[in-house]
């Protein structure tokens, strides 16, 4: 169980979630990414990010809207292979 950042974050990256995350489990590469990513292995499920996000982009993984379930893979994958995560994000956006 973790939180996931979905499509509304893309090209906004407000970073309010980063400010409130108590375990610093939200990262991005500003030079290469269009969204922020939550590390599901570090997330402690506190929900601070969800409450802070002004774009309503953060969801509990079991409450992701059906159209955005693919973002769970994207967030988790980014921490292992960022390029693969970006490729999948591009695919999701093309398919949307």
């Amino acid at each position: 169980m973790a939180y996931v950042i979905a499509e509304p974050c893309i090209d906004h990256m407000d970073r309010a979630c980063v400010e409130v995350c108590p375990v610093d489990c939200i990262q991005t590469d500003e030079a290469a990414d269009r969204k922020l990513y939550i590390d599901p292995e570090a997330c402690i499920d506190c929900g601070s990010c969800e409450a802070a996000c002004p774009n309503a982009a953060v969801f509990r993984s079991d409450q992701l809207p059906a159209a955005w379930t693919g973002y769970a893979w994207v967030d988790a994958a980014w921490y292992a292979d960022a390029d693969a995560a970006r490729d999948e994000l591009d695919r999701l956006l093309r398919a949307a």
Binding site: M1, V4, V20, P22, D24, Q27, A42, D45, G47
Partner: protein, 273 residues
């Protein structure tokens, strides 16, 4: 914040294999386990399930604003586990106090309960936006249940340092009277006519609450009582509410119904499921 909830092991909605994590990619891999940077210097058991922990960071207290939380971290069964807690200390204090409820079977608090005075612990930087607005002259209504009182103790300690501090009203709800942490401290602060403190016990007839002769009921009952007594004027009140989501919702509904502007109801979710 006192989010000692166990992450629930519901699987992520992932139906394809994830790439394998590499170790050592800056900013991408799981962070290395940090070492301890603080020591437990005192502990006071308020009840068997609630305790006050006093922690001294090695490098002095980190900068924080009243109402913010910091993570405490310990190694639990070989894994580094951290949980965020609001400190009840005022900024600048040498030691940081935390009011913690033990969660039986929880991922963190059972190990914290085993930590002896002198034991080492990791403390992280302050985070959170549940903070006071500088110069806010409105009456500050602080509503807490259980260990949700902690950020308000910090706020009150901070406000007390200012001669032109606003009027403050503290409502602290607990199930049993012994859970009224900081009762003596708050009673002492309430000698100041600008501070009103109302503890409220929801299970006064339980043997654990024997001897309790104060207000009974829930925080919403206490708020109604204070409103009828004109202790606060809703239109010029800012309310800070810290407790479970259910308490926040019921309190916010009541306050807005009484005339507190919705934007003046600020909340911090606590839960210990």
């Amino acid at each position: 914040m006192n989010r000692s909830a166990l992450p629930i092991n519901r699987p992520l909605p992932i139906d394809r294999p994830l790439p394998v994590r590499s170790v050592g990619l800056p900013g991408r891999s799981s962070p290395p386990r940090p070492g301890s940077n603080a020591v437990l210097v005192a502990r006071a058991d308020i009840t068997p399930e609630i305790a006050r922990f006093v922690i001294r960071p090695d490098d002095g207290p980190p900068a924080f604003q009243p109402g913010q939380y910091l993570t405490l971290g310990l190694v639990v069964d070989g894994a580094f586990v951290q949980r965020p807690y609001s400190t009840s200390s005022a900024p600048g204090a040498r030691d940081l106090e935390f009011l913690v409820r033990r969660v039986p079977g929880g991922a963190f608090t059972p190990t914290l309960w085993q930590l002896a005075v002198g034991g080492r612990i990791r403390i992280g930087p302050a985070k959170g936006r549940f903070t006071l607005a500088p110069g806010d002259e409105r009456t500050h209504l602080f509503v807490a249940t259980g260990t949700g009182l902690a950020p308000f103790v910090s706020m009150l300690r901070s406000l007390s340092q200012f001669p032109d501090r606003p009027q403050a009203v503290v409502v602290h709800g607990v199930a049993w009277a012994p859970e009224l942490a900081y009762r003596d401290h708050l009673s002492q602060l309430a000698r100041d006519p600008r501070i009103h403190y109302l503890p409220v016990v929801s299970r006064p007839n339980d043997p654990a609450s024997a001897g309790w002769s104060g207000q009974v009921g829930r925080v919403t009952d206490a708020i109604g009582l204070l409103h009828r007594a004109a202790v606060f004027e809703p239109a010029i009140t800012v309310a800070y509410v810290c407790g479970s989501p259910a308490v926040i919702d019921s309190t916010a509904e009541l306050l807005v119904g009484l005339g507190v502007p919705p934007a003046a109801v600020i909340s911090e979710r606590y839960w210990t499921s």
